[in-house]
Amino acid sequence: MKDDLKYIGKTLPIHDVREKVTGQLRYVGDMMLHNMLYGKLLLSSISHGIIKEIDTSKAEALQGVIKVFTYKNSVDKKYNSYMWYKAMDTVKDEVLFTNRVRFMGDRIAAVVATSKEIAEEALTLIKVDYEELPFIDAEGALVEENIKIHPWGNIMSKREMENGRVDEALKKDLTIVEDTIETQKVHHAAMETHACVADSTPDGTITLWSPCQVAFQVQLIVSEALGIPTSKIRVIKTAMGGSFGGKGQPILEPICAYLSLNTGAPVRLEVSRAQAIIGTRTRNATKGRVRIAVDKEGMIVGRDIDVLVDGGAYHTNGDAVALAMGKKAFRLYRIKNQRYKSTTVYSNTPIGGACRGYGSPQIHAITEINIDNAARAIGMDPVELRLKNLVHPYDKDPLNGPDLGNGRVIDCLEKGKKAFNWEEKFNNRGQEGRFVTGVGVACGVHGNGYYGAHPDYMMMTLKVLEDGKILMLSGLHDLGCGTITTMKQIVGEVLKIHPDNIIIPEADTFYSPYDSAGTQASRVTFVCGGCAQETANLLKEKIYKYSAAILECTEDAIEMLEGVITNSEKPSDRISLSDLLSKVRYQFKREISVTNTYESKANPGVYTVNFVEVMIDKLTGMVKILDVLSVSDIGRAINPGFVEGQVHGAIQMGIGFALSEEIKLDAKGRVTTANFSKYHVINAPDMPKVKVILVEEGEEYGPFGAKSIGELATVAIAPAIINAINWALDINISSLPATPEKIIEALNKKAKQA
């Protein structure tokens, strides 16, 4: 399948590798504009309350402070930063600066000063007098009598979806296994904290430089929040120092634009790590009750899932995450009777948002831990139980969602089982002594864009340049994953031209054709890549048509390789792309260029299976991950090196989710883990070797058969780890992260019961 391909399936370096490794890449935090001012935010120190008085006079008196902004002197228009197109129906509940504090981290004020240090010092001089209100957590939000965080109540949304008849299925003579599993709020931990620069002209036109995921969304949100038309707002996507969903929603951009407009100067606004942890976005915490009914043969007869999703203080995408979680539950196993219910609530906790996997890591933690418990209950190997129930290629979505396509999860599990030597390791249980090892497995599914849910199309222009290179104009955003190089490889393959000869600037709302959704929803390789392939084919047709006219032969006789076009019937007749453009311009008065709008036609499932081996210290509760095998069905790897890199990073995030990462709150809702000395990501000494196996069986609508990987790769690792711990120790950890404290507690509980 790969043999006749020149650039697809090859590991090429990311386009900006030289700048990155030599430290020359300019991030937005490196930007300096003439007379630039510095903005800093004051975030609330309490989790719930009303601002009785705010005194900014001392801060304003500090030399170097230009202005202090609070709710008293700034625009008060409601918006929802999650919205990325105007027709979207969402609840708008955010404002630039609030007078009602809904979580520790709510925006109270911004200082603009001539230096960052002065702005920081001014923050300490602002006096805020709060009337504190009781802290409401997610469980508290369900209590009707509790105080309302927003006037319309503490329930954000409820969802229910069902196929078959769950209540009947669960009544049958079957083994029913019930679990309640909790997942925590986590921080994205991108190396670059949120930052942006805004500049404005006297006529009120704003230019924003932002490491964003959706430039057109930034434009829309600034317009919504400030009440100015989008034509006055230009957004330029800058180099990105990591996002993982955390920079998906515009957070600083509307504020920064406002500060620049109101001071008449360029402003750079950045947050500290502590502010990024408490005051940006988090992975939504969830609590899922799941009941599964299995028969003696291990067939899943029914499943009932009820999830409480903690949306945090503002709406953003809380409901969308709950919906996405539900959809995934129906696309991994063939379950004839299944129901998914969700209740999403407001709470006085950090705001939820997109976070790599968008609900998938949460729903898979809930359901995959439960599947293992079901296997234990009927005494079956969890791999066998899964093999009996997993979806097959070309299965239909039982809820009539998009078809699953060529979903190869069974292949993944079978290949992985063999490569991992699963059976032998799985049966090596019940070891004596302080250190015991155990293995675990989990499966996962994710999507490929918004087809079936939101408009999913992209506009793109490809044109031949004077020197024979190809320019792509499109609204792309490389988040560091290799999007630009991936697109170059796709176009390069179609045109048989080296990817270095394709030039791809990133999104700039003034010049880029519209893209309906940006870098979200695992859509970029599948949808934008599909657009690149189709548009390149259109350009190729055009090149062939002009070449045939100029070389005076049929289009069938035309061959093109590395920018040289040849008449295959008379190989001495050849012309370079550069010369072709000159002739076309002179003879035909035309450009060699196409503009195309591509609409996604599918949203197949992508699948992953993770196997892990852990070693647990029964005295200290410390877990060491010894081995990870990740097997993923991705259709086709455009750039296998990028794919492997995505998997390694995703496993690192997933181990943190499973073992150590957590935004913790005290009894009053104050964040106690607001820096990296208390918020522990997994670092190099604790990182295991990750083995990657790819199943590449192709997907009809993906470019060269490719599907997504970046989000998928992080959805199954946490439950695989928890399953390994539970199996090795014969305990039932049901709350993430599985800290040493929780493991010791579970062991003590088990000892007491024995």
């Binding site: 240090e117 002065i118 920081e120 010092e121 300490t124 302080r434 210290d617 005295l619 200290t620 509760g621 410390m622 060491k624 150590s660 000395s677 522990h680 997994i682 670092n683 190099a684 000494p685 604790d686 800290t739 040493p740 404290e741 010791i744 507690e745 062991l747 003590n748």
Partner: protein, 291 residues
Amino acid sequence: MEKWAFYSPQSLRELIEHLAEIHNPCFVAGGTDLMIKIRNYKIKPTTIVNLNRIHEMVYIRKEDEAIAIGAMTTFTQIAESPIVNRYARCLGQSAGNVGSKQIRNIATIGGNIANAAPCADSITSLMALGARVKTINIWGEIHEKPIDDVIIGREENNLDEKEVIIEIRIPTLEGGYSAFSKIGSRTAVTISKLNMAIVLSYNKADAAIECPKVAFGALGPKPFISDAVANSIKGKKFTYPVIDVIKPVLLKEVEASIAGRASFPYKREAIMGLAENTLNLLMDGIKEGGY
């Protein structure tokens, strides 16, 4: 940010000559804790006295019955020192586990003592080793006091406003061995949830433990010496499962220190693993023949 005066004496003599005139000095050694406190506006210094130019405070020396470590010696220097690893191995082990490599390259032992964090790894080892702290004041007087007297509580020392730590002295013990280990949230770059150091002397002829000293960190406002745990192993032989002897004593020690606190249920169990790790390290040291 507020302006402050910044003074970098080149020698101890120069420091002493000027110290009397400096109002409210804030001494900076490695600065790894101080910088955070300044940035968070937890302290607002008026004059920062930088000790990093006083190169005469960087040394590790073996003397007759002690090793002497200059206060400005970094943890990397201590962890890599053959003298430390021969005569005060537990200190080398704790120094090698402090923070990250970047922190160890700049943080100093004197600064660590003055900062007096409850979870400071080096202090637990220094306690068990019976270290003494040498200081100098504005009159050039040198005092030497036990480390236990210098650190009086959570981030509290009893140094005078213008008293500077210049040296740490560790008595050497004939036939002595020591070990340190810690439990954090991950393998490296982690703050101790619990740490422990054991120092003892061990006569191979009759293989009985002599002069044991045991210290714990992160089990209260400051690291402390546990006589109870030490006494439980005194006179015991390593052929005997020492860990079984000290387990009940460890439990009592944890109960006495933190009973009722949220961390108690975990620490009462984890301390058993910590003690086992520390004893294993000690045995490794004995096998290798190091101190």
